[in-house]
């Protein structure tokens, strides 16, 4: 079952600018929220602060009510086990085969024997519809869509409570992107986990979310059910969703 994820007053300053200026988000267990927003508005920084890859200047990241921002590296370990992450470019390890990538956590963190880890990796490959014939090849030999599937398999193999997706459909053709979206919805439902995604891709955002929130100038400026996106009543959301250059948001060119 998914965990409750709450960001409270999250602030982060980079190069003299408040990239996050008090971000508040609360995602109920088993719900999927997509964070949208223009480039440079702090979506990736939000994700990095939540995952502990970047330390926020202030604010809290609460996982099932426990603030994880102040934890030491070793104390953070059990919390990281609740997380699964699909990176934008896949971030598969070049030096390992596809199955070793997928089973990385099992082998190197959980101490599972290689034989069993391989079996579980191949089973997970089947679940994300990645043919087992690719188990022994290097990630560089996979297409973009296959790399995303392998990345997704790696993220879900340990049955996480919270899944994070960073631009899951970037760089994919529309058909492959839609297949990845279907897979994300299926896996999130199957695992019953909580999901936080960031994306620019509106068809993807609509498909994989229960709720959508918009980040602008380091703050959440709107949040609502996915079904209410087109009637948000927020000029910034409206401009972003319809991809118009004119409006309250200045295009960065």
């Amino acid at each position: 079952m998914g965990a409750n994820l709450k960001l409270a007053g999250l602030k982060k300053k980079l190069r003299g600018r408040w990239v996050l200026d008090g971000v508040d988000l609360d995602i109920a267990p088993g719900r999927s929220l997509v964070l949208i927003g223009g480039s440079g508005q702090g979506k990736s920084v939000t994700l990095k602060c939540t995952l502990g890859l970047m330390a926020p200047d202030s604010g809290q990241v609460l996982v099932d009510g426990r603030d994880v921002t102040k934890l030491s590296r070793s104390a953070r370990e059990p919390v990281m086990r609740k997380f699964g992450m699909l990176f934008q470019g896949g971030a598969l390890f070049d030096s390992l085969s596809v199955w070793e990538n997928i089973a990385f956590r099992l082998i190197y963190s959980d101490g599972v024997a290689r034989k069993e880890a391989r079996e579980r990796a191949i089973e997970t490959m089947r679940r994300v519809r990645l043919a087992p014939e690719f188990a022994d090849v290097r990630p560089v030999e996979l297409s973009g869509g296959m790399q995303k599937r392998a990345g997704l398999a790696r993220a879900i193999i340990a049955k996480p409570d919270i899944l994070f997706f960073d631009e899951p459909t970037t760089g994919l053709d529309p058909i492959t992107a839609d297949a990845i979206n279907d897979l994300i919805v299926e896996m999130v439902k199957e695992l019953g986990c909580t999901a936080l995604s960031i994306t620019h891709d509106m068809p993807s955002a609509r498909k994989i979310s229960d709720e959508i929130a918009m980040l602008h100038n380091g703050k959440i400026v709107w949040r609502g059910a996915t079904a209410s996106l087109d009637s948000s009543g927020n000029a910034m959301v409206d401009q972003f969703v319809h991809g118009r250059a004119e409006g309250p948001i200045q295009a960065v060119v």
Binding site: K48, L51, L53, M80, F104, R105
Partner: protein, 256 residues
């Protein structure tokens, strides 16, 4: 522009960088002694850093030994001291040229490789991915490289010592009309265990410097291919400067 402010900024930035590097080196060293240990990674790095460096170390040593014998012969002839060629060759190779040249060659081959590999992993988010998979990159990526470099560099230097002395022997016997048996006898009679030990201590220190500098530059790289290229260059230059400075300090310590 105030020149004093510029000097001050530069000085603060230099000390900040030294502090960051020292903290990184400390964390890397600590990671070598704290579980979990990744023996497979360690063995792979021993092969990569140690075994695959043998040809470059061997070639460097044989030519340096040969050139050293020629130079000492020419210099020694000025005051009728040609017979000291084997003594000075073995002393020069074991105490100084073996470890320093092996260190410099490996700073290029290994240091740049570590920086490029970890740097590429950094800019493609593979290092972040490792963290999200509950694996500490310091223990999985850095500690095996540091341990492998510290342990294999002394072995490489020992090999370089032997090959370097043989380079001097070949030139002395074939070009300078030395008696082969007498050359080797002089060499073994003159060299003392502390000469070899000094070279091995230096080698272990240089191994640490090369691996940590490469890892530091790679781990902190950013900005795509340009950043990775810069990290590799900085790893080589930084390691060379540190190797030469530490070489002097270790030599001075042993001499005193």
């Amino acid at each position: 522009m105030n020149p004093f402010a510029a000097i001050g900024r530069g000085t603060i930035s230099l000390f900040a960088e030294i502090g960051r590097f020292a903290a990184f080196a400390g964390r890397s060293a600590a990671a070598c002694f704290m579980p979990p240990f990744f023996f497979g990674q360690f063995l792979r790095q021993c092969l990569q850093i140690g075994y695959f460096s043998l040809p470059v170390i061997g070639l460097t040593a044989v030519f340096i030994g040969a050139a050293l014998a020629l130079n000492i012969y020419v210099g020694g002839a000025r005051f009728n001291a040609e017979s000291f060629v084997p003594n000075i060759v073995v002393l020069g190779i074991t105490r100084e040229l073996g470890p320093v040249l092996a260190g410099l060659m490996l700073a290029g081959r290994v240091g740049a490789g570590i920086a490029a590999e970890i740097g590429t992993m950094r800019v493609t988010e593979q290092v972040d991915a490792m963290t999200t998979l509950s694996t500490d990159p310091f223990k999985f990526l850095i500690a095996p490289r540091v341990l492998a470099a510290v342990l294999t560099l002394p072995v490489l230097v020992l090999v370089a010592d032997i090959i370097g002395v043989m380079g001097g022997y070949l030139v002395a016997v074939n070009s300078l009309d030395f008696n082969g048996a007498a050359y080797l006898r002089n060499t073994f009679n003159f060299v003392e265990p502390q000469d070899v030990i000094l070279g091995l201590v230096k080698a272990a220190a240089f191994g640490f410097i090369i691996a940590v500098m490469g890892a530091y530059q790679g781990y902190n790289s950013s900005g795509g291919a340009l950043g990775v290229g810069r990290a590799a260059t900085n790893a080589v230059v930084g390691a060379i400067v540190l190797i030469l400075a530490v070489n002097y300090l270790i030599t001075a310590f042993f001499v005193e």
